[in-house]
C-alpha cells in the first residue's frame, strides 16, 4: 500500500558524497543558519534551563531527597516496568507484523497496514477511554473479568495495555522499510540451503535489521516512558501503586511540591536524552551500513 514515512528519521538514501558536499555558509547564509538554530533554542532551551534551575532551587540535597522518597521511587519503578513490558510486547509483535507486511502477500494486507498506524491518530485520552469502555464496570468484558476476579482498569494491566497501545507502531514502522530494503535474497538462499525458518530469521534477517530494530525499540521505549493522558484516564492515580512518573509530576505540582515535580521532570529528561542518544546511535549505524 504505502511507503513507510520517513518520520522515524531514517536516512537510508544518504549517499556519503552528498554529506561531504555541504559547504560552509557564506555571508547572508549565516543568517539562515542562525535562524534555524535560534528557533528551537527559543522553543526549548529556555524551558529546559528553567527546569534544571527549578529542580535545584532548594539545593541538590533537597532534590535528591525528593527523588529518593518512596513515592518518587515507586513512580519511577512503575514507569520503567510498564515501559519495559510494553516495549517487549511491541518488539516481538512488531517484528511479526513487519515480517508479515513485507514477506507475505494476502488479501487483508492493506487493512493490516492501515491498522498499524491507528495509534498515531488516537489521542491518548481516547485510548484510555476505550479501555474503560472495554474493561470497566459497564464494559464489554465485565462478566469475564468478574469471573476471573481480575482488576484491569484502574490497575496495572489496564495501564500496561494503554502504554502498549500508544507505543505500538514504532517497531513495525521502523523495521518494515529495512526489511523491504534488505530484500529476500539472502533469506531465500538460506532456505534453499535447507535452513529452518527460525534459524534463518535469527542468523540472516535479524542481524540485517538490527539497527532499524534498535531505533524502533528506543522510540517505543521513549514514547512509553512519556505517556500521560492514557494512564491518567485508566490508571486512577493511586500513589505508590498506579502512579507513574508523569502522574507523579502532575500530582506534585498540585501538592505544591515544586522541587519534587521538577526533580522528576529532570529525571525523565535524563532518561529521554539517553534514549535519544541511543536512537541517534542506531540511526547513524543504519546509515553507515
Amino acid at each position: 500500500m504505502s511507503q513507510d514515512r520517513a518520520l522515524t528519521g531514517q536516512e537510508f538514501e544518504l549517499r556519503p558524497e552528498s554529506r561531504k558536499r555541504a559547504d560552509r555558509p557564506k555571508g547572508l547564509e549565516w543568517a539562515l543558519v542562525v535562524l534555524a538554530i535560534l528557533y528551537p533554542v527559543a522553543l526549548a532551551a529556555g524551558p529546559l534551563f528553567a527546569i534544571v534551575w527549578g529542580a535545584l532551587s532548594s539545593g541538590f540535597g533537597a532534590m535528591m531527597r525528593q527523588l529518593t522518597s518512596p513515592e518518587a521511587v515507586n513512580a519511577l519503578k512503575l514507569t520503567l516496568l510498564l515501559s519495559f513490558a510494553a516495549t517487549a510486547l511491541n518488539t516481538v509483535f512488531g517484528l511479526v507484523v513487519a515480517m508479515v507486511l513485507t514477506r507475505d502477500d494476502f488479501k487483508g494486507r492493506r487493512v493490516l497496514n492501515g491498522l498499524i498506524d491507528l495509534p498515531f491518530a488516537f489521542s491518548p485520552v481516547i485510548a484510555g477511554f476505550t479501555l474503560i469502555l472495554l474493561f470497566g464496570r459497564n464494559g464489554w468484558f465485565v462478566n469475564l473479568i468478574d469471573a476471573l476476579n481480575l482488576r484491569v482498569v484502574f490497575a496495572l494491566p489496564g495501564m500496561l495495555m494503554a502504554t502498549t497501545f500508544i507505543s505500538l507502531p514504532f517497531v513495525a514502522r521502523a523495521v518494515a522499510p529495512v526489511l523491504r530494503h534488505v530484500g529476500r535474497e539472502q533469506e531465500n538462499v538460506a532456505y534453499t540451503m535447507g535452513a529452518a525458518y527460525w534459524r534463518t530469521f535469527w542468523s540472516v534477517t535479524l542481524p540485517n535489521i538490527r539497527w532499524g530494530l534498535l531505533y524502533g525499540v528506543s522510540l517505543t521505549f521513549a514514547r512509553a516512558v512519556g505517556e500521560f493522558g492514557a494512564v491518567l484516564v485508566v490508571g486512577g492515580g493511586v500513589t505508590r501503586f498506579t502512579e507513574t512518573a508523569t502522574l507523579y509530576i502532575y500530582r506534585s505540582l498540585d501538592d505544591r511540591n515544586e522541587v519534587g515535580a521538577y526533580a522528576m521532570v529532570l529525571a525523565l529528561a535524563v532518561i529521554s536524552i539517553c534514549l535519544l542518544w541511543l536512537m541517534e546511535y542506531a540511526r547513524k549505524h543504519a546509515q553507515d551500513e
Binding site: P40, F93, S123, T130, R180, Y191, G229, L276, M279
Partner: protein, 285 residues
C-alpha cells in the same frame, strides 16, 4: 505502491515454516485485532449506540464544535509555522557545514523523546505569569500561557521534528548537479531554491506538515497544563473529550472522539497516498 511485487515463498521455505505461513499471519492479525480493532470497535459502538441522531447532536453541540474548531485552528497555525521553519532547518542541516551541526542534528529528535506533560510544565515554568519572562510579556499584554499562543507553542515543540525529518532525506537525495547546473546558468541561490529544489521537496513538506497536523489534533498532555480550558478560547478537543469522560456525558466523549479519529486517520491516509505517489524511495527487489 512498493515495487516489491508480491513474493511467494519458495517451496523450501514453506516447508521450513513451522506451521505454515498462516501461523505468522494469524499472530499478526490477532495482535492487531485485539490491540487496535477492538478499541476502535467499542468506541464506535458506544458513540453510535443511541443512534445517529444522538451522535450528530453530540458533535454539533456548540461547545464541542468550538473545541474542534479551536483545535483545527491552532493545529493549522502551528503547521504553517512548522512547514516553513522545518524546511529551513532541513535545508540548513543538509547544505551547510558548521560547528555543532552534527550535535544539532542529533538533538532534533528530542521532542520525540520528551514526555508531553514535561513539555507543558516547561512552558508554564518559562512563560507563566510569575516567571520573569512571563511577567515581562504579561506586562506588555502578551498572554502566552493559558491563552492560545501557549497552545501553539506547545504544539510547535512537540511536532518540531516532523517536517525536518521528512524533508531531509529528499533534500539529500537531490542531485547536487542539478543545483550546480542552475548556478552555472546564472540563477541566484534563492532562485535555485524556489525553482529547482522547492518543487522537488514540496511533497515531502506536505507529508511532514500533514503528519504534524494529525499529531496536533490529538495532543493532550501538554495542552492540559498550558491552556486554560475556557471554551472557544482555550479548550481544545482532546481536553474537551477528557472533560466529557469525567462527567455525565460519556456518549459525548465517544462521539467527539470518533470525529477526531476520523479526521486524524483521513489525514494519515492522505500522507500515505502522497508518499506512495512520490514513487519508490526504497530500493526495489
Amino acid at each position: 505502491m512498493n515495487a516489491t511485487r508480491a513474493q511467494t515463498y519458495s517451496p523450501a521455505s514453506v516447508a521450513a515454516l513451522p506451521w505454515g505461513r498462516w501461523s505468522l499471519r494469524a499472530v499478526a492479525l490477532i495482535w492487531l485485532g485485539l490491540m487496535i480493532a477492538l478499541p476502535l470497535a467499542v468506541l464506535f459502538e458506544h458513540g453510535l449506540r443511541e443512534g445517529i441522531v444522538r451522535f450528530w447532536a453530540e458533535i454539533t453541540n456548540p461547545l464541542a464544535l468550538a473545541a474542534v474548531r479551536l483545535t483545527i485552528f491552532a493545529a493549522a497555525v502551528m503547521t504553517l509555522i512548522n512547514a516553513a521553519m522545518g524546511t529551513l532547518t532541513a535545508y540548513v542541516l543538509v547544505r551547510y557545514r558548521f560547528f555543532g551541526s552534527r550535535l544539532f542534528n542529533s538533538l532534533i529528535d528530542l521532542p520525540f523523546a520528551i514526555p508531553t506533560l514535561v513539555t507543558g510544565v516547561m512552558l508554564v515554568l518559562l512563560y507563566g505569569p510569575q516567571r520573569t519572562l512571563g511577567a515581562w510579556l504579561e506586562a506588555r499584554g502578551a498572554h502566552v500561557i493559558f491563552a492560545r499562543p501557549g497552545i501553539v507553542l506547545a504544539l510547535l515543540f512537540i511536532t518540531y521534528p516532523f517536517v525536518i525529518r521528512t524533508v531531509q532525506p529528499v533534500l539529500m537525495a537531490i542531485e547536487r548537479e542539478q543545483e550546480e547546473a542552475a548556478w552555472t546558468l546564472g540563477a541566484s541561490r534563492w532562485q535555485t531554491f524556489s525553482k529547482v529544489i522547492l518543487p522537488m521537496i514540496t511533497p515531502a513538506i506536505i507529508s511532514g506538515a500533514l503528519l504534524s497536523f494529525a499529531r496536533a489534533l490529538g495532543e493532550f498532555g501538554s495542552i492540559v497544563v498550558v491552556a486554560g480550558n475556557i471554551p472557544r478560547s482555550t479548550l481544545t478537543a482532546p481536553v474537551y473529550v477528557f472533560g466529557q469522560i469525567e462527567s455525565q456525558n460519556q456518549m459525548g466523549a465517544s462521539a467527539v472522539s470518533i470525529l477526531l479519529l476520523a479526521l486524524s486517520f483521513t489525514l494519515m491516509l492522505l500522507v500515505d497516498w502522497m508518499q506512495g505517489k512520490r514513487g519508490g524511495g526504497h530500493v526495489a527487489r
